[in-house]
């Protein structure tokens, strides 16, 4: 296939995720507000916030190290690249084989690794709380994710997202293990994006915050980078679920523009549905105590392991 258009498509994809991420965030906030009988912020509020943050000067603690200043960019970049590797509207992108699902998971892992580190850099107790809890969640969420990957990979016979999507498209059939994987993935997604019931993105109440505690010391452009990164991460997970479990409408490799358009539209729809369901879920339950989260994530881990076992035992599940 010709290199230039492929690169172009890849570039479009990267910009697309960057552009859509705040929108998804705004959408969820809006819907949430509506559900709580509030008017809520306008849909584009996240963009405004980001712009303002970027323009502001960055206030940094005296004892911040170079890691603290370069952290946000690395985190953002890692997340962005990971998101760019997940097929959104088209499969078989040029660089999609640069990293398979495991690698994408690990990329998010490195983003979290640095997030946790910068949380500890200033040496405040809040940063410590945030990092240690984040790593505790991660120590369960990541293996759960790997188990999900196993299940899916064993079904599709590949860890390449494009191949998986293609496989699901071509011979779609309800599978127990796939269902398990879906539930597990949703749980992991909620935990990873610091949503209710695991964490509350809106709170700054000391004892409950996890993600917010890590980024407490950030301001200005650095904070903007981190906010954007988390927005992209949310988008990533939604599109990941969409790509693995609802790959319909994805444009096949070397497709024409019409297919791309179809893909884009269907992707947009998927995003909205996903965001809506997320909000629905969030508003319907309350946040849980920190030490009940492991049980929550443990469920995901067990489901993933179960799915993998079933696949190992027989191909028919």
């Amino acid at each position: 296939m010709a290199l230039i258009p492929d690169l172009a498509v890849q570039g479009v994809q990267m910009l697309l995720v960057l552009a859509l991420a705040p929108l998804l965030l705004g959408f969820t906030r809006k819907v949430k507000a509506r559900m709580l009988r509030r008017r809520g912020p306008p849909l584009l509020q996240p963009y405004r916030d980001l712009l303002r943050l970027i323009r502001k000067e960055a206030v940094i603690a005296e004892n911040a190290s170079w890691l603290f200043r370069s952290g946000p960019y690395m985190i953002f970049a890692a997340t962005w690249v990971a998101a760019a590797l997940v097929p959104t509207f088209a499969t078989g992108l040029t660089f999609s084989w640069a990293a398979d699902l495991i690698a994408i998971t690990a990329l998010l892992g490195s983003a979290r690794f640095f997030l946790a580190l910068v949380g500890m850099d200033i040496g405040t107790s809040f940063g410590g709380i945030g990092s240690s809890r984040e790593m505790m969640f991660a120590s369960l969420a990541e293996p759960a994710m790997i188990m999900i990957v196993f299940t899916v990979a064993l079904i599709a016979g590949s860890t390449q997202l494009s191949t998986i999507a293609h496989f699901i498209l071509t011979n779609a059939s309800l599978r127990v293990s796939l269902g398990l994987a879906l539930v597990a993935l949703i749980i992991v997604a909620i935990a990873e994006n610091a949503r209710i019931p695991v964490d509350n993105p809106a709170t700054h109440l000391e004892l409950t915050m996890v993600h917010e505690a890590m980024v407490l010391e950030y301001s200005g452009r650095h904070l903007a980078m981190i906010e954007l990164a988390s927005a992209v991460k949310l988008l990533l997970y939604v599109s990941l679920i969409a790509c693995i479990f609802f790959p319909w409408g994805l444009a096949p490799p070397d497709a024409d523009l019409r297919a791309f358009a179809v893909g884009a539209v269907s992707y947009l729809i998927k995003l909205l549905v996903g965001g809506f369901l997320l909000v629905l879920f969030e508003t319907s339950i309350a946040k849980m105590r920190v030490f009940r989260v492991p049980d929550f994530l443990g469920i995901a881990f067990m489901l993933g392991l179960l799915g993998t076992l079933l696949r190992f035992v027989s191909g028919s599940f």
């Binding site: 603690a61 890692a78 690249v81 107790s125 790593m135 505790m136 369960l140 452009r221 191909g315």
Partner: protein, 669 residues
Amino acid sequence: MPVAMALTGVAALLATSLIAALLQRLRGASRLVYLICSIVCVVLLGLACSQLLAPAHPAPTMALPIGLPWIGAHFRIDALSAFFLLVTNLGGAGASLFAIGYGAHETAPGRVLPFYPAFLAGMNLVVLADDAFAFLVAWEFMSLSSWALVMSHHADGENRRAGYIYIVMASFGTLMLLLGFGLLAGAGGGYTFSEIRSVAAAVLPGLTLTLVLIGTGSKAGLVPLHVWLPLAHPAAPSHVSALMSGVMTKVAVYGFVRIVFDLMGPAAWWWSIPVIGIAGITCVMGVLSALMQHDLKRLLAYHSVENIGIIFIGLGLALAFSAYGMQAPAALALTAALFHVFNHCLFKSLLFFGAGAVLNATGERDMEHLGGLIHNMPLTALAFLTGCTAISALPPLNGFVSEWLTFQAILLSPALPSWGLKLLVPAVGAMLALSAALAAACFVKAFGVTFLGRPRTPRAAGAGETERASLAAMLAFALFCLLSGLLPGLCIDSLAPVTHALVGAHMPTQTAMPWLSIVPIAESRSSYNGLLLFAFIVLSTLATIEVIHRFASRQVRRAPAWDCGFPDPSPATQYTADSFAQPIRRVFGSVVFRATESIDMPPPEDGRASRMIVIVRDLVWEALYAPIAGIVETVAERLNRLQFLTIRQYLSLVFVALVGLLLVVSIWP
């Protein structure tokens, strides 16, 4: 004649240790010794590379008229030995280079210098040996010299205890190996490896496998034989710890591979089950124990246990695959294991170097007394951070690649017909995933508490950057970590002859792949391209920075930490290592370590501070080793009464023996 060259190198090392024994008093002796060591190691490294990249057929051998008289000492460099020779001397060279700077601070050089080259020589000899006797001599010599190094700071009773446990475990392992070789060689005493190979199938393979697993596992640190490791590795000077953790454990892996894959003949499927099972448990136990530590070097040592587990998972899978004749997957699994051997040698040495540098700069190993070192030791911090990222299996560094390969191998294992494996492998895969995630947590803790935050003690505050030579070693290894992460194809291809010799196949040539990405089986199935990923990340980072700094603000204001409005001046309020691990301890520790937390809250009137007591127990020690020690103690005590009998009672012993024997004779047919 490569073998002769290698042996010359070894001889040079031994000579160096003699010289060191004589010249230890001299000023600059340590620089000289370490310089010689690093040069010799580099030479051997080159030799190993040449042998690995262009293996001679048949493998060059050499026999010296020493050792067992009627056998002599045989040495051989085939692909496998070449690879491990490479690993050994890579680690050796790095450690020696590091020690050129580090060794200057040694308080008792006379107890380190003579044994350090001997230790290197011993490890090289193990890899070179081609008959059972030479192998065991080298093996035990390695243990002996490292024991001397562990004992180098003997004033501390803890170190003496560590050394004692170490040497006992080591010789226990050696005796097990000895028995194993006894089985392999048979009553005839055919001790050369070629003779052992020529025997079609091992007698009592189960027993042999057990013995070998115990023998090599006790040196590599498989649970539950790992107890000596977290004691002994930290006790030694840091560059030696780096060697012990980064290289000696790999030599143990070599022993296992050599015997099980090479000498024991065709594998049976059930061999893999104990290996994989123990390996999985080792992973989790190792990393969890590491998380519980607040002594930096002990944390690293425990973490070696975890990595050994990962390596043995790969080896076990390779055994299973090759037992069922699935050569390509076997090659994949074996490659994963060996590549991880290489990687672990790199980043574990690097991390121990870092720990050593910190130890030199602050005189502290306890993380609770450190913190904020990133400001005074930026380069060390950078190198250490690279090591942490690599060992936590994060892309784009090398640790991730080998673990990724291991995952790919696991994903191939449903094809295995055995039901036991069908159930075992996914469970172990889960353990691997779990330990990978925990490793990340562990090294966030290690780096965050040691280098980030505010200094917890004046010594930490007053730290300075370490010597140039040491820095060079660390940065070089960091660079290697990055490179082998970006260009894994090269390493994988250079492993091809090894896997080909052991399991009869090798992975597809990676350097032929487009864009230098690695593809274990087929691109549609799975592929990974570290280089591209790295380029991506770097580019997008730069782009973002560029954009923001150009079109948005770039000014910075320094201010006191915000900390939700009430910042606390005292660094004591920071999260400590223990408190960082507390959530995980509550999740896992209560099961694995019977960890209990109790808070001692004084009544209102008395002024003492309230304390939190955390008790973490080592169940392996309590369940396995303490009873054995107890038994020996009691038996010794009971028998000891025989020392205090009277002559008449001794006579009656003789009398009873006589009468008893006479009775036997009289009733003898």
